[in-house]
Amino acid sequence: MNNDAIKDLLYRMADDALIIGHRNSEWTGIGPMLEEDLAFSSMSQDKIGHAQALYNILYTSFGEKNPDMLAFQRAEKDFRSCQLVELPIGEYDFSLVRHFLFDHAEALRYGLLEASSFAPLAGLARKVRGEIRYHVMHADTFFKQLSTGNEVAKARMQSALNYALPYALGIFEPSAYEEALIADGVFAGEARLQELWLEKITPIVAAAGLQMPAIDAAKAIYGGRKGYHSEYLQPLLAEMTEVTSIDPAAEW
């Protein structure tokens, strides 16, 4: 098996989970209502947990640094997360649409990975299946409910979707290792994942009465997977690493 290919896949997934987990946790305490505040916070915690599990595979299977160091002591350019996850939380419509677009891709990705030839990832995929199933249910419930609310709600959901979609296509930015991953039976590849994702979300968007924006590969916002990020990632990392940058060995 091609170790560099697997490591790249693990970094992409782990960094996505860490950054979206951090972003979504920014809603803690200011969510639209108590119950939703709790649900959204719990899902953010789950994402951070997924990131930790993935960093841990990098640590134990490939001798990379330990999970805390991978999360808190890497430069912005070393992050392989897509740009979708680093965007500010904005209003709740955007955060929900991002949650909907990202979590469907994540659920399908882990679904494919259950059959991975790389055992640690296949094991993790089976372990997180239930958690991610809930994340997707939550996303679908809210997506449908807000989109079928009044005209204002519908318009806001539509514009959030139009804005987020090119970024969401960036989730599937191909890496240099697509062929190796597919040949080794590690992962079916980003192109296949994007296909499954579109098949999955298109009818949900239609059922919610929204217009699916045209899928134009030329408009996909790529770069994140190669370490090119928007202006929003560095401030997030600065905040997230505030403690470790004072005391790298701090325990809490």
Binding site: M33, E35, E36, L38, A39, S42, M137, T141, F142, Q145
Partner: protein, 119 residues
């Protein structure tokens, strides 16, 4: 007028009634089942606008620790109860010890069995 009948029964003095209550979400009673086949036990309430949303919230509020097999949600407004002044209908029930299995002679045998088996 609250959407929660239990609040209405309290007959509280109305403060700021009107627009604020109209924007409140309704409440749902949540029942938690820890094992398949066991009876769901009332756990509390959540605020939500649809049953699906109520389930989403109930999961994080009442099934965040320990084991869970399933959850039920029921619209609070669909729960029928006696009025509080009807509580009198239950008043003499505790006196009806003849309805208690302990009232009968078998009680002695149960006690003998329990003490023998240290239950």
């Amino acid at each position: 007028m609250s959407l929660d009948p239990r609040i209405n029964r309290l007959d509280l003095k109305r403060v700021n009634d009107g627009e604020q209550t109209a924007s409140h979400l309704i409440t749902w009673e949540v029942f938690h089942q820890d094992k398949r086949g066991k009876q769901p036990v009332h756990a509390g309430i959540v605020h939500a606008s649809t049953p699906e949303q109520a389930l989403m919230f109930a999961k994080e509020q009442y099934a965040r620790r320990g084991k869970t097999a399933n959850l039920w949600v029921v619209k609070t407004a669909d729960v029928y109860t006696f009025n509080s002044e009807d509580e009198a209908i239950f008043e003499t029930t505790p006196e009806k010890t003849f309805r208690d299995p302990a009232f009968y002679k078998v009680r002695e045998r149960i006690e003998a069995f329990q003490s023998k088996n240290k239950l």
